[in-house]
């Protein structure tokens, strides 16, 4: 029964490739089996120039940046990191089931606020971008409540609207965005937030997303919740210090966290989606038959696994 559901999904899904694989050999059934069947070439190393390290007293959070979707914001966040803008700032907001945010606690006090030196204080919004068919897109055929098309592009959850000719990053768990004030062009990366709860899809196309946490999420998601409005901490001593933010390329290779991300453009990633859409672990009684975009894991592993 489970196996039949699997074949049906593979057919509904998309590709002759998936069907050929089905015929050629038994399909791996659980995520563990799919990953065990992966080859080294199914994984890609993070690019040091597009990887950000947020150094906390409790450890390192690793963010993969998305220059294909927010080129100006990614460039500015790297410029801010390189002028050490973030060093010594703090996590100022932890709102349950929503976001963790770090910023200059004195940002609203002109005499105390940290000055941006070479980077830009604010930028035009990058809420979406032109739909470029040459960008990788692994469509998820299960549908979506918010967008006409959803899927994955080089390890990021994305949505597309062929009618408007736009595509954009989606607010799934672990996605990183640039906070802004009411004006749409008031953000620039000086305040960054990370999603720590149910996907806040109402933020899609309202704020610029620029990356995804690929390691260290638990350092952010387990922080004490702020008791002020919107989850802001009410006392300075509640804040968690940001020791430093660095571009991985600026660190010596042995100081980097060597990680690999599963490619999302390969047939094996389709197998992985199917292994999560219809669980075949013995514990499961009823396979769901469908899966939401933000419920699909994008696996990351230490590079030494090779």
């Amino acid at each position: 029964m489970l196996h039949r559901a699997s074949m049906l999904s593979a057919l509904l899904c998309c590709s002759a490739v998936a069907f050929a694989a089905e015929v050629a050999k038994p399909k791996p059934s659980t995520m563990a089996e799919v990953l065990a069947a992966s080859r080294p070439s199914d994984w890609r190393a993070l690019e040091p120039e597009n990887t950000l390290y947020v150094e906390l007293t409790t450890g390192r959070v690793v963010i993969e940046l998305a220059p294909s979707f927010a080129p100006a914001h990614v460039a500015n966040v790297k410029a801010l990191a390189r002028e050490k803008y973030y060093d010594g700032l703090a996590v100022v907001r932890v709102q349950d089931n929503y976001v963790v945010q770090w910023a200059d606690p004195d940002a609203e006090k002109p005499e105390l606020a940290r000055k941006v030196q070479h980077a830009k204080q604010s930028l035009a919004a990058e809420f979406d971008r032109k739909l470029d068919p040459s960008l990788p897109f692994t469509r998820l055929p299960d549908g979506d409540i918010y967008a006409p098309e959803v899927g994955f592009s080089s390890g990021f959850p994305v949505a597309r609207d062929p009618k408007t000719g736009k595509m954009w990053l989606v607010h799934c768990y672990g996605m990183v965005g640039s906070g802004r004030d009411t004006a749409v062009d008031s953000g620039g990366g000086t305040e960054l937030y990370v999603v720590i709860g149910q996907a806040p899809r109402h933020l899609d196309r309202n704020v610029t997303l620029l990356g995804r946490v690929v390691s260290g999420m638990e350092l952010l998601s387990s922080l004490p919740r702020g008791t002020g409005q919107l989850g802001f901490y009410t006392k300075p001593e509640q804040r968690l210090a940001i020791k430093a933010v660095r571009v991985a390329a600026d660190l010596a290779p042995d100081e980097r966290t060597a990680l690999e991300v599963l490619r999302t453009e390969i047939p094996l990633f389709q197998d992985l989606i199917e292994s999560r859409r219809n669980r075949r672990e013995e514990w499961f009684h009823l396979p769901a038959g469908h899966i939401e975009l933000c419920a699909v894991p994008i696996p990351v592993r230490p590079a030494s696994t090779r």
Copy 2:
């Protein structure tokens, strides 16, 4: 433009009531405005007999039980609480973006495991129930990836399938379920879990849900993540003690947490959904036009607000 989107949604949505309200007076536009417009009768007090308190060293977690969906499990959890089965047990598992679970850490050691006295050790599964049209159901017209119909029943997120004639509780953030082993009838409430991340909808109809956390979620969601397999803590000292679990009815009235939940069967709840579907706060640039079941908040407030 926002207002036009609002009217369209109200029309698509369902009810002459919503449309009449639109014509009769300006619709409240933000959630804050909707709640400010609520009357005392729009709220219901928690029933002490169907409210569970989980007492932690850090505070109290309040759970509203769902006897309409899991009558045997709710009765058994109350019986377990009343024989003090849970007192002195511990949070043994915190898996990031998934669940917090409390249980007997010695459950697998027959000589040490706590014995169930008058309650039952295990029960038949209550993964779903017969679709009873007399049960309240406020349908969410926005659709769902996993189920033919979704909506709210007396403050709980639910799904229905008219074809199979079944309805069931849905795994949204804060929902409480009864852990089980591989056998579907191996759970009974001795181990309970709470969803602390993206809705794990693949668990729907695979495990018995029996309630929802209505206060104190942050005490669970901010716990350190376990580093063992499935997020289990690897050392006893990492566990958080469960001081006691009590049925609210068994406490003196002044020891109870007096809370009220917004009714989900009233026109005002439709206004609330619309206020979250299409945000009208000044900050928002683009209203989403749609909302997922698990993104709809079910407001709770101190009863003293009256």
